[in-house]
């Protein structure tokens, strides 16, 4: 099982590449309001996580996600019932 911390760690690497250097990246930063990501960039983040962890993560997990911590938690929750496959 992949931990929430591990997912967060990878997320920070990707965010470091695409977010403005002046904005600090932390687990509770708002991806859109504070980091200025648009919807496409947020969806691309998900794609990167899918490939990093060899998972299927449907876009639907983004519905209630605003921060990296929430995204990592949503991915972990998704993995629980089917160990990495889409439910």
């Amino acid at each position: 099982m992949i931990s929430q911390e591990k997912i967060l760690e990878r997320l920070f690497v990707y965010l470091g590449r695409i977010a403005p250097a002046s904005t600090p990246i932390h687990p509770d930063v708002d991806l859109i309001q504070e980091l200025g990501l648009d919807s496409i960039k947020v969806m691309d983040l998900l794609m990167e996580l899918e490939d990093e962890f060899d998972l299927s993560i449907p876009l639907n997990v983004l519905t209630d996600v605003r921060t990296p911590a929430q995204l990592a938690e949503a991915v972990v929750t998704l993995m629980e019932p089917a160990n990495g496959t889409v439910r």
């Binding site: 648009d38 919807s39 496409i40 960039k41 969806m43 691309d44 998900l46 794609m47 899918e50 490939d51 060899d54 998972l55 299927s56 993560i57 449907p58 876009l59 639907n60 990495g84 496959t85 889409v86 439910r87």
Partner: protein
């Protein structure tokens, strides 16, 4: 938060970007002289920002058919086909499209957007998985959201990436819905449909192709990319629109599946809206006859496409990945895009400016589109305007 507060950033962005009365996000075209010429303010322009691929919007036969339907059946149907009935012309159009595509069922919708909502959003529910190209049109994303399907994106035009994602799904891939477009509306490139059909044959799934920009444009008979590449039998659902090569408004879905017609009783965007107006249906039927009878329109369209694509590439502009009736030119920042768009209007050329996130890779681009109705001289005029702006940009760079 008050109801309209959510638009504060939008208002701020708009104010920063739009500082002229004339701008690309609400352009008023004051007069239409032909499928390829109009007037914006005091400026006569070549229209290179439409989807009028075959130039049929002012086709005499389409206009005559529309006028006759208007006189005989009135200005509108005033209701839904489910509740208020279909006109004979709705059924005739569906039958003619079924014959054209060689498919058992065709359902006509009031717009292309609604065709996508009505088919994808109804077919793919919360228990279904959709694999869609990352550059898919907004209507496809909206449709998936409406139906609540589980959506997995794959990298644009990357069949190997699609296969990797399908393999991750294991057995679930067999029932997944794969969605691609014949020609992508922003970059003008075509889906690698042969490879995708091959993946479907090996791993299962259903294949839906949105041929909105490719019907009338690709294929020996104009049926789109699937015909062009000889994979029509692998496509479960063809989606399309009447508002591009057919020059009117409306949309359709065509399928060979015997159950497809049941969507009429389940698709809310089909049921809960007024049916297409008689004049629109009549002009589409006439345009479809023209599309079938006049393949020379496609030949002319592609001659124009190649002329513009090679002309702009020859000037050193970064154009799309392949020659196409949609020719994008990548420009950089939104501000550069705005200035460039205004420069083109001043030189008598109307194109579309498209900004992120509607564009791939976060870059502003001007989207030019050609028509079979453009003359070679008009294409040269467009290229000439781009050439002048290239010189102006270089001079500005030297002086700064």
């Amino acid at each position: 938060m008050a109801l309209f507060d959510k638009f504060a950033k939008l208002a701020q962005d708009r104010a920063a970007l739009i500082q002229t009365e004339l701008h690309p996000f609400g352009t008023r075209i004051d007069e239409i002289y032909s499928p390829t010429e109009g007037r914006i303010g005091s400026q006569r322009v070549v229209l290179a920002g439409t989807n009028n691929y075959l130039g049929l919007t002012l086709d005499p036969d389409s206009i005559k058919a529309a006028q006759q339907a208007l006189a005989e059946e009135g200005t509108g149907t005033t209701g839904s086909r489910m509740a208020n009935g279909s006109y004979g012309s709705h059924m005739a159009l569906e039958s003619e499209l079924a014959d054209f595509f060689g498919r058992r069922s065709v359902i006509v919708f009031s717009t292309g957007y609604q065709a996508n909502l009505g088919v994808i959003g109804t077919l793919a529910g919360p228990d279904d998985i959709v694999l869609l190209d990352a550059d898919s049109h907004a209507s496809i994303y909206d449709a998936c959201r409406m139906g609540g399907a589980q959506v997995i994106r794959f990298r644009h035009n990357d069949a190997a990436d699609l296969e990797r994602r399908m393999r991750r799904l294991g057995e679930q891939a067999k029932d997944a819905l794969i969605i691609v477009e014949g020609i992508y509306s922003m970059l003008g490139d075509q889906a690698p449909l042969r490879e995708i059909a091959d993946i479907k044959r090996r791993l299962g799934g259903y294949l839906l192709v949105d041929e909105a920009h490719s019907v009338g444009v690709l294929g020996q008979h104009g049926r789109g990319l699937a015909e062009e590449l000889g994979v029509e039998d692998d496509v479960d659902v063809v989606l399309g629109t009447f508002s591009k090569s057919l020059g009117a408004i409306g949309g359709f879905a065509a399928s060979q599946h015997p159950e497809f017609d049941l969507l009429r009783y389940a698709s809310r965007p089909y049921i809960f809206t007024a049916s297409p107006s008689p004049s629109s249906v009549a002009s589409v039927r006439a345009a479809l006859r023209a599309l079938r009878a006049r393949p020379e329109l496609r030949t002319r369209l592609w001659e124009n496409a190649h002329q513009l694509y090679s002309g702009l590439a020859g000037l050193g502009y970064q154009v799309g990945p392949q020659a196409s009736p949609v020719v994008p030119v990548v420009l950089g920042s939104p501000q550069q895009g705005m200035a460039f768009w205004l420069g083109l209007i001043e030189r008598g050329v109307y194109v579309n400016l498209v900004l992120p996130p509607a564009t791939p890779n976060g870059q502003a681009l001007v989207r030019c589109s050609v028509s079979a109705a453009h003359t070679s001289a008009q294409i040269d005029h467009i290229i000439g305007a781009f050439a002048e702006l290239a010189i102006t940009s270089r001079e500005a760079a030297v002086n700064s």
